[in-house]
Amino acid sequence: MKTCIACGMPMEDIADFAANDPSKDYCIYCSRPDGEMQSFEEKKESFTKFLVMTQGFDENVARKIAEGMMRKLPSWEKYFD
């Protein structure tokens, strides 16, 4: 099973893939409306917002957690060298 290179989510169904395209390596939540993958900054902000919205974390703490998660994912490793 593929996992999203930008957030680590397992992708099983076609609907999980960006633009319903199973050849893509990233998921629907990491893509822009046109199907392209979000940028580093866009992903960081969207994950931060997600943490605040679903778990109520402080925004700055949430941003640090988002960076910590992204550090371990293939798409974003290079941003932390």
């Binding site: 679903t54 109520g56 910590g68």
Partner: protein, 201 residues
């Protein structure tokens, strides 16, 4: 061939260390010395450091593995779920499976290094992701009260964690607190968050 055998051996040792650490941490807590993990795993103390230069590296790898396993289980279960009730039932099933380790983790999380804390937050965000997608639909349908998602999520975790953290008060022996109280926890929480009159019945 030789290289492959060595690589497999290396991976097996790593796996053995992580599995043993999972067991030892569950039983004795996260401040147990690495020498005990080495002894239990039947590997040399140096071997642990060859795989994990610091105890923090071991802890973070273990938590990531744990999070992947728990996340994958929940992901599969959540896909089949269209109601908050069924999702929370599945959440409790997964927690029951990992109850000893999970209870230890939530009781010691505040003394763990930041990286481990963040890994734990990421594990919870997988749960929160499935929770949010199901509960948003229920709020829209009018079956769940219109409350902030994070408060609905944190109230659920707060309730479950309270029982896990105070296991000694809620059970006498080694029985699973989740097993004993899951239906009461679930029905109470649902009564708190559900609208009295369902819109679509």
């Amino acid at each position: 061939m030789k290289v492959n055998t060595r690589k497999i051996q290396k991976l097996n040792t790593r796996k053995k260390i992580i599995e043993t650490a999972y067991k030892v941490f569950s039983e004795k807590g996260f401040s147990v010395p690495s020498s005990i993990i080495a002894k239990e795993a039947g590997v040399s103390h140096g071997s642990i450091f060859a795989h994990f230069p610091t105890i923090n590296d071991l802890l973070v790898s273990l938590l990531s593995d744990f999070g992947d396993k728990m996340g994958a289980r929940l992901h599969v279960l959540a896909k089949k779920t269209d109601s908050v009730e069924n999702l929370l039932k599945e959440h409790l099933k997964v927690l029951k499976e990992y109850e000893t380790f999970y209870s230890r983790l939530i009781s010691e999380i505040n003394i763990l290094p930041d990286e481990a804390k963040n890994t734990f937050a990421i594990i919870q965000s997988t749960v929160a992701f499935h929770f949010a997608s199901v509960i948003e639909c229920e709020i829209e349908k009018g079956t769940v009260k219109k409350l902030p998602i994070h408060m609905l999520f944190n109230t659920w975790l707060g309730l479950v964690h309270y029982y896990l953290l105070n296991k000694d008060f809620f059970s006498e022996s080694n029985e699973s607190v989740i097993e004993r109280y899951s239906s009461e926890l679930l029905s109470t929480y649902l009564n708190l968050i559900k609208n009295e009159r369902r819109v679509y019945e």
